[in-house]
Symmetry: C2
Subunit: 345 residues, 2 copies
């Protein structure tokens, strides 16, 4: 007679027995790791379905896994982040991993709270998107749990990185505007003073790339950087400042599409037109940039590819915690649209 | 001599002893519940800081709490959801609860996966934002864990609801457009066939509210509903269809701001202007609607208030699981902007 009451939970061992394979093989299939043949996958999946097995935090699988990946997103309003997230969730769709997002990080303290919460809750791996935390904090996170950092330069043995070549991206924008005949090309950057972040943050690299590219095009005397923040408000305030110059720029390179939103807002408010009075370029190639009535020239840094690469590295790290750290750098492309044209006069 | 090795974790009992209060009092402060005086809060906070206490999943507090609230978001691209999320995170900022988001739900199967994952991971409470799941599924979630549903009408003893009066919101839009002199006012709705969802979903209520309001203004012969989806693509396709009519509408009421984005895109593509050729109104009053160059007339359903109310109800439910279910309905307001004006001719 079967015992009464709550049925015993199905474990990975039951699945292995039912599928007549090893528990290691089941674990491989659950992680979608290399080395599991299509036949093996089919066999294990069938056993999982037949037994109603659910890998989860309550009944942990092998090695105490919770099959949870934490993704820290700095700003849910920035339209670039859903692209990264799409790459992450698509890559994990065929695995047993569940993605949970930690939202609302806009400072080091908030980032520490979210990463601590993720570690406390036993997440198997963490993806940090454009973190502003100190390197020391990120290394302590990476030491506690397999971690991949998206959008932050600088190698560390404690975590892998996936970045875009931000210097190259800035050069594409300046080259495009200079090619149209602009000289007074201004840049709106995210204000940065911390020396480590000045070498590691994408925003700092873009500002650096802008300066270098201006010099390469013989435009150093027109270098004009306004320092605000990578938000719509930052773009708005920066543009107010630029429009108050005795001699106005003819083109603005906003460090992110969300900054360009603020630029467009301030330009419209001043009764000026884009691109007639001012050419505007952004960075990230978000759906906002592609939106017909906006049609913003932007840099495509392939957010989905960033997300996909981060997942690949993270699953490798989960499978082999001690492996040497990896740095993946992707190349950006320019997407010219109607917001940039030749300067007037 | 202190024992060597890993220090013992600080528990809620240690905090209570250190603060010289009861564990119930500590629990109240952690939950930010009513009945904890400012002095009590200060005392407990000090003890928490001094001992370095961290409530977490690894070392659970009283009653097995994980101090985690799961929020299921259907579409991270819809600019309305960050408003709700702001209300949620702001309300929880003074508590020990961590919010984790389950992203990427665009179907019943995906919603089931996310809610199961949240239950499995022992979340203390769940907020479902605009779920499309069957009532049966939501009730099973609400039975397993305290649950509040945002944006879904229909009372259930198994969960609380926070909704906006969508019939009233639609009436505000139709009243505004009729007041400007429009008669051929079309509506783009989210296609819905399930009978339960037809009575419970905000989109269905808005379509219903549109029809009722048109009749109330004596405009029944001009009722014109295009059935697509609450996405940018849905707005785009719906508008293509409307612009192909032998007699075009002079105004379009899009059921959501993200739908209005698609409307604006299709109108621009057709070489027409807003509001010159077509008045356009949305719903949700997102930052996109408020964005200067867009300036979209929209209905403000106070997303932050929805989020705040959901948290209040959820913390009550966590504290008292058996209490009768509550339904909160908020009243919308109209925010007229430049995208609507008198019809031409």
């Amino acid at each position: 007679m079967e015992p009464q009451g709550r049925p015993r939970r199905v474990t990975i061992v039951d699945v292995a027995r039912h599928a007549q394979v090893s528990t290691t093989a089941v674990s491989k299939v659950l992680r979608n790791a290399y080395g599991a043949s299509p036949e093996m996958r089919a066999k294990v999946r069938r056993a999982i379905d037949e037994l109603g097995y659910r890998p989860n935090a309550g009944a942990r699988g092998l090695r105490g896994q919770t099959y949870t990946i934490g993704v820290m997103l700095p700003d849910i309003r920035n339209p670039f982040f859903p692209e990264i997230l799409d790459g992450v969730t698509t890559s994990l769709a065929d695995t047993e991993y569940q993605v949970l997002l930690g939202p609302g990080c806009n400072g080091e303290k908030e980032e520490a709270r979210v990463t601590e919460a993720m570690i406390d809750r036993g997440m198997d791996g963490i993806i940090l998107v454009a973190p502003i935390s100190s390197r020391g904090h990120m290394e302590s996170v990476g030491t506690a749990v397999p971690t991949v950092v998206i959008g932050r330069h600088g190698a560390s043995p404690a975590y892998d990185t996936v970045t875009d070549d931000d210097v190259e991206g800035a050069a594409l924008v300046v080259g495009h505007l200079a090619g149209l005949g602009h000289r007074r090309i201004a840049h709106i950057e995210h204000h940065e003073t911390d020396p480590t972040r000045l070498t590691e943050m994408p925003n700092a690299r873009r500002a650096d790339g802008y300066r270098r590219a201006m010099r390469n095009h013989g435009l150093e005397e027109w270098i004009d950087v306004v320092s605000t923040s990578y938000t719509q408000e930052g773009g708005y305030r920066g543009t107010k400042e630029l429009l108050a110059r005795p001699v106005r720029p003819t083109a603005v390179f906003a460090g992110a599409d969300i900054v360009a939103m603020g630029v467009l807002e301030a330009v419209a408010e001043a009764g000026l037109s884009v691109p007639g009075d001012l050419s505007v370029a952004g960075y990230d190639n978000t759906t906002f940039a592609a939106f017909g009535p906006i049609s913003l020239t932007s840099v495509d840094q392939a957010g989905r590819e960033l997300g996909r690469n981060a997942v690949r590295l993270l699953l490798e790290r989960i499978a082999e915690r001690g492996r040497p750290s990896a740095q993946v750098t992707l190349s950006p492309t320019l997407v010219p649209r109607r917001s940039t044209t030749r300067p007037a006069k």
